[in-house]
């Protein structure tokens, strides 16, 4: 379908999705989706709102179960794991929720310390050092005494990012990290994703519909629409794509294969129906 620039193989991939099929009620969310998320790279999963990009992250994390197909993370088939094994694997996966999902009754410091306190037996002195290091990485060491309600949206997301890397995971999944950010915060988040990925040797999955921001940092992009992978490749490949759908999405054209109008009866008929 489209030229794939990088060599894709199971050995180079941290996450593989094979023939995934997922339904919500009768609605098909994913139909025959296959993907390879390469190790050490930033992979973006893009598509219009409501195409189930977040659902895909939850499937990868094992919070939802596919109806058909298989997902492996680091060689482990995620839906065949026992609960304890799944939890063990999740300690090595970080996820940044759209809202940040900070614990509102805990301070910034305690939020970042939460996974350390739950999963390790480190002393409080050690935890303090680690937490301050993680907060330093996102530039919020000075804010460690604040409560989540006192943070701006961008700050909350950076704290959540510090919490997600607290246990030094092998991968991070970002759910719409750019939504509702002012330009400065957006630039910070973009930089952080790239920086953390390279400095910590992470594998990153970014779910987003902001094509311009995502294209700046992603090594590979998967475009999803109507439950299928429409196209994948490097940002440059997608920008030059001939497919009408990809063109509409990448260049943000209001009308095209994805219609501007929600399906309905003809306009004239509808207007005259009342009289």
């Amino acid at each position: 379908m489209s030229p794939v620039t990088e060599a894709s193989g199971t050995d180079g991939s941290l996450v593989t999705v094979r023939d995934l099929r997922f339904l919500r009620g009768d609605k098909i969310i994913f139909d025959n989706v296959s993907m390879d998320i390469p190790r050490g790279k930033i992979t973006a999963i893009m598509g219009p709102s409501g195409t189930g990009k977040t659902t895909l992250l939850r499937l990868i994390a094992g919070q939802l179960r596919p109806h058909e197909g298989e997902i492996t993370v680091d060689g482990q088939r995620i839906h065949h794991l026992e609960r304890a094994q799944l939890f063990e694997l999740r300690k090595r996966m970080g996820m940044l929720f759209q809202s940040g999902a900070l614990f509102t009754e805990l301070s910034v410091f305690d939020n970042v310390a939460f996974p350390l306190r739950e999963h390790t037996r480190l002393s409080e002195t050690m935890i303090r050092i680690l937490v301050l290091m993680k907060l330093q990485a996102v530039g919020l060491r000075g804010a460690h005494r604040l409560m989540p309600a006192e943070l701006s949206g961008g700050m909350a997301r950076r704290v959540a990012l510090a919490r997600a890397i607290a246990l030094d995971p092998m991968m991070i999944m970002y759910d719409e990290p750019f939504v509702g950010q002012d330009p400065i915060a957006m630039g910070m988040v973009l930089n952080l994703i790239r920086l953390l990925n390279d400095a910590l040797g992470l594998t990153s999955i970014v779910v987003s519909h902001d094509i311009n921001e995502t294209a700046q940092i992603a090594d590979r992009i998967y475009l999803i629409a109507d439950g299928r992978v429409v196209e994948h490749g490097s940002p440059a490949v997608l920008r030059d794509s001939e497919s009408p759908w990809t063109r509409q999405f990448v260049h943000g054209l209001p009308d095209g294969p994805v219609p501007f109008h929600y399906p309905g009866p003809p306009y004239r008929e509808d207007l005259l129906a009342g009289s």
Binding site: A61, Q63, F87, R90, F97, S99, L102, T104, P115, E118
Partner: protein, 275 residues
């Protein structure tokens, strides 16, 4: 051995047919009961771990119990005062005002203490519990906890349930004790009943095991179990929207009140109906 197997098979078939019929006629009720039972099971499974972290439970006892004290205390005093006044008005015609202590104490210990404190608890603490858990669900805090490989049943639901279970009998005892003092104040200080006969009649007619343990303690334990189960379930099961949370909160108060009143009749019939 064969007979045994046939018996088990028949019993299973009977239960399955009850289930099928129930599902046909009251699908929503049965589904909710099923989800509620599963939730209770998972909470009970998480209780041992919750006991290992007394700090979490103590914090919740403060939120659910200590912060409910003002409303419980004020209501207890007033209910006791009304009982004293009404009892006096009715007993004075027969010259039996010496029995006032027994009347006030028995009414409070057997019925009003556990029932009214459970109803107040549902309004004050149960609704807050539902709203808190519902909001944690809506803001993805529970999901992010799961992603950090922390079981929300062990970390969030079980400590709250246990704390409520501990707080309820204590609140009922305080309510009852303050109610008796309220009745005593009205009877002795306002209406001129002899203080000695007030207390001695009470001592003569109230049995520790039959009245205090059965009435206040066992009833309030049962009510506390039900009230906290409903509150936690409604919070966890709510639709994660503002309307969903508001409905869940209302349902907590309504369902707890109805269940407590119905259960009170059953318990009263079992405990005091025999003699």
């Amino acid at each position: 051995m064969r007979f045994h197997r046939v018996l088990v098979a028949t019993l299973v078939e009977i239960f399955a047919s009850i289930g099928r019929r129930g599902l046909r006629f009251f699908p929503l009720l049965i589904l909710r009961l099923g989800r509620g039972s599963l939730l209770l099971f998972r909470i009970l499974a998480g209780l041992p771990r919750a006991c290992l972290r007394p700090g979490l439970v103590v914090k919740q006892i403060h939120g659910l119990g200590v912060l409910s004290l003002p409303i419980i205390a004020v209501s207890g005093v007033f209910v006791g005062m009304v009982l004293g006044l009404q009892g006096y008005i009715n007993l004075v015609d027969y010259g039996a005002t010496a029995q006032l202590g027994a009347l006030v104490a028995l009414a409070l210990v057997r019925e009003m203490g556990p029932v009214i404190s459970a109803l107040l608890y549902a309004g004050r603490a149960g609704s807050a519990l539902t709203a808190e858990i519902g909001l944690m669900k809506a803001t993805e805090q529970l999901a992010s906890m799961e992603m950090m490989a922390v079981d929300p049943f062990q970390r969030v639901l079980a400590p709250r349930f246990l704390a409520g279970l501990i707080a309820m009998p204590l609140l009922a005892c305080i309510f009852t004790a303050l109610g008796i003092l309220g009745g005593w104040y009205i009877a002795v200080w306002q209406l001129g009943v002899d203080s000695g006969s007030f207390w001695s009649q009470m001592q003569a007619s109230v049995q520790f095991v039959d009245d205090v343990v059965d009435g206040v303690l066992i009833k309030s334990l049962v009510f506390g179990f039900v009230a906290n189960w409903i509150a936690v379930f409604e919070g966890y099961d709510c639709l994660p929207t503002s309307e969903g949370i508001s409905r869940a909160t209302t349902r907590t108060v309504v369902n707890t009140s109805l269940t407590v009143l119905a259960l009170d009749f059953v318990l009263t019939a079992l405990m005091f109906g025999g003699n």
